[in-house]
Amino acid sequence: MSLPVGIAGGGGFGRALALAVARAGRSAILWSRQPREFQTQQIRTTAALADLAAAELVFLAVPSPHVPAVARQLGASLDGSHLICHVSRGLVGEDLQTLTELLRRVTPVRRVGVLAGPLVARGLAEGQPGGGIVGTLFPEVFESVREAIAGPSLRIYQTEDVVGVEMASAFVGMVAVAVGYAQAAGFGPATLAVLGTRAMAEAVRVSAFQGAEERTFAGLAGTGDLIAAVAGDGRPELALGRALYEGKTTSEAAATAGAYVEGIAIASHVVAFAKRHSIEAPIAVAMRELALGKASPRTIVADLMARPARGE
């Protein structure tokens, strides 16, 4: 009998993962602070994180600010035989520490990975055709994720560029806020394309310092994810960007978006990191200025367009 799959986090994405596990014919244990009901017997819910130790693979599906605390608590029940795959978009602090790195520091689990790409809760829950990418150095993490959720409607790919996947995923969150903002400001597709492309070039520049590979940004975790966001898969990041354009404060905009959005916090961290390493990151700077209410759309656009154009 195969072991159940653990899922830490009863939010939209955690519940969607549980349904994907059930669809793949496996059983799941879902840890949630709030009671959750499912139509299937294959999903059991629990309020005790320690219960997830019964699984071999545990998905960590909590908003990134909660990852350190939940991971510490979860780690207290795990050992070296467990595998953890997180699905969060965050980077920690001004060193842009990735969440897999944090997992290695606060838990005894070493076989860790990240699931990213154009996966959204609704599509995953409904079994719409789609795909994602697992960044991990460990073949068994990839195999276990694939066994847990892949199927006729979900393709899972793998890369060893773990940092690249995590950085790309986090940057797409930031860029999606910028795109939402630009859409609300009335800019057309060509402007959005330039914004998105240059923002990803900036992401590559910054991420290379952390050892990420450029090609990862052209894959599912980067461009693929950004296309899904711009095409309108209902990302909260775009809603947050639009709300910012309407003049709402960061906290009001976050409330409008209806979910925790990491993009603004990432922009601040990226600006500090880029300054320290003398890397040009104009779009992150613009995002931070906008969020702090220190700049208007007009001045931001004027500043970005006035930058000297160089080889791409």
């Binding site: 207290a76 070296g80 838990t107 150095l137 073949p139």
Partner: protein, 574 residues
């Protein structure tokens, strides 16, 4: 007629062993390495067996043998000596015949090639040479430092004790060496490293470790004799054949599996930039992970502990060659340097003469031992989770209840381990006065040349003058910032530097540089210090690369200079 050069070549390739009238029987308290000679033949055969097991199919044998023949032919073709000619004929014969051989002949050929390689790699251990070295080598080194002390030092009062300090969890290491296999993984900045660490292990009551030494170190027959008879095995980096790499890894893994404490320099080569290595591939050290899995798969419960260490010199013997090599773009591919200061007696004497004027010439700081999965261990050798629970390390090599040997998984663990060791390097670094002075001078250079690239800056010879009455307070302030970082557990500071007044460590560092390096690094003129050799200053300052921002004062120009140093530092990882 006896040709001296031929004799030297012969001795370096076939080091002398001392004759023995009766077999040495190790005592119960002797370290494991004392058993090496009685196990040597068995170890060689174990390596051969494991390699043959990996290549059972005909195609696999053909592939690995052809690869070896191809690389050996390429390596030997440019040589004109008789030995090379003979070997060339042998390999060309293999290439001609291998396709037509029967399965048995192929296996026999692989066995023959493998055994020859293992025999060349495998070392020897002679307890008599070990005891002789432990007694005499420190005295000789002290004698080189100061000939008038030679007699006294031979009688036992060696200055080496004062010159080389050791720090870190030494008591814990002494306990752990009896519970499992220690794998020392220090930083690497000089060919003296292996001598320094071997001496410190001996002095601190730690068992000797086997060590894979580059074959270039065996070119001197005397060093070759000692290396060969003290358990070192030979690693010839010129041999590119995959089979040779497999032989080295298997040999190393089997030694660790059998409980031989081992020493590896996971940076692979000496740090060309002077910086503490940031990216480690681990190479042979990674075989410790496989050894752990193999031992447990066969039911042998022998823990393996990785022990990071930093070797911190006030002066680096080969500094000039290393930094030049680093700075030459073409030099980056020059992996094996066999014509540096290490091979020149006059540089040794100048170097050791300088050392005697220092309070401390070298500090070896051992880091916290870890299991192969980056978990710290307690005094009892138990692996600890981040929240302090004892954890069974076997769970890391288990899948669904069974212990599995899995190369892909172990390669991933090895990469993690490389990262964890590199992190320990940073906060186990001990900053010496010469390095701090170099950093402050280099920061001044960067301040004076805003926006220039590194290479343009390094052309500023004799053009930067720093008033000493400005430099001393800046040195004091930077030292204080360093001591604050030490209090926060980020780095260590040499005791002399921590205590001394800035003018004292300034003068001592300057004096240490002055007569060792061929060109003056900096000289005093009137009330100013003139920067003369930015390359060497850059080399020594690179040791502080990870702390540059925190060491900068409030002055905006100093902070900007610090940011520029950080930005130029990424290339300094080797």
């Amino acid at each position: 007629m006896v040709r001296p050069l031929a004799v030297m070549m012969r001795l370096s390739n076939h080091p002398l062993r001392l004759p023995r009238l009766r077999t040495y029987v190790p005592g119960p308290s002797d370290p494991k390495i004392f058993w090496f000679n009685s196990e040597r033949a068995d170890i060689v055969q174990a390596v051969v067996r494991r390699i043959l097991e990996r290549h059972e199919a005909d195609e696999s044998i053909e592939l690995i043998v052809n690869d070896a023949a191809y690389h050996e032919v390429r390596r030997l073709e440019p040589r004109s000596d008789e030995g090379a000619h003979r070997r060339l004929e042998y390999w060309r014969g293999i290439i001609r015949r291998i396709g037509r051989m029967s399965s048995e002949s192929k296996q026999e050929t692989l066995r023959e090639i493998t055994e020859r390689m293992v025999q060349d790699v495998a070392g020897n251990f002679d307890p008599r040479v070990y005891r002789f070295s432990a007694r005499v080598v420190p005295s000789l080194l002290t004698g080189v430092m100061k000939p008038s002390r030679l007699v006294g030092s031979l009688l036992g009062s060696s200055k080496l004790n004062d010159l080389v300090e050791s720090e870190g969890p030494l008591d814990k290491l002494r306990k752990l060496q009896n519970k499992g296999t220690l794998v020392y993984v220090p930083t690497h900045s000089s060919n003296l490293d292996s001598l320094a660490i071997a001496w410190v292990l001996y002095r601190e009551g730690l068992a000797p470790a086997v060590y894979g030494a580059g074959k270039n170190l065996f070119t001197n027959p005397i060093i070759s004799f000692f290396m060969h008879n003290l358990g070192a095995y030979r690693v010839d980096r010129r041999i590119k054949a995959q089979l040779y790499k497999d032989v080295l890894k298997t040999y190393s893994s089997i030694l660790i599996e059998r409980g031989y404490h081992s020493l590896f320099f996971p940076g692979g080569t000496r740090s060309r930039s002077g910086a503490v290595e940031r990216h480690l591939k681990l190479g042979l050290a990674g075989t410790g992970v496989e050894a752990f899995a193999r031992n447990h798969a066969r039911g042998t419960n022998r823990p393996i502990y990785f022990v990071p260490a930093t070797i911190n010199y006030a002066l680096v013997l080969e500094a000039e060659t290393l930094i030049e090599d680093y700075l030459k773009e073409s030099g980056r591919a020059r992996y094996i340097i066999d014509d540096d200061e290490f091979s020149r007696l006059d540089r040794w004497i100048a170097f050791f003469n300088r050392l005697q004027n220092l309070d401390t010439a070298c500090v070896i700081r051992f880091g916290e031992p870890m299991d192969p999965f980056c978990n710290l261990v307690n005094d009892e050798g138990e692996s600890l989770t981040p929240d302090g629970r004892a954890i069974d390390p076997v769970t890391y090599v288990s899948r669904r209840g069974s212990v599995v040997v899995d190369h892909a998984r172990d390669a991933a663990y090895t990469r993690d381990l490389g990262r964890a060791i590199a992190e320990q390097y940073v906060h186990s670094t001990v900053i010496m006065p010469t390095q701090l002075l170099a950093h402050v001078i280099f920061r001044r250079l960067v301040r004076a040349t805003p926006g220039l690239d590194l290479f343009s800056r390094l052309r500023y010879r004799g053009e930067i003058a720093i008033p000493v009455d400005e430099l001393l307070p800046e040195l004091g302030r930077t030292r204080d910032a360093l001591v604050a970082l030490e209090a926060a557990g980020r780095v260590h500071v040499n005791a002399g530097l921590r205590r001394a007044k800035p003018d004292r460590f300034f003068e001592r560092a300057l004096a240490a540089w002055a007569t060792y390096h061929r060109r003056p690094m900096a000289r005093r003129m009137g009330g100013a210090l003139i920067l003369e050799d930015p390359n060497l200053v850059f080399f020594y300052q690179n040791r502080l690369r990870d702390f540059v921002l925190e060491l900068a004062g409030d002055h905006p120009a100093e902070q900007r200079a610090a940011r520029e140093i950080v930005a130029m530092g990424e290339g300094g990882s080797r």
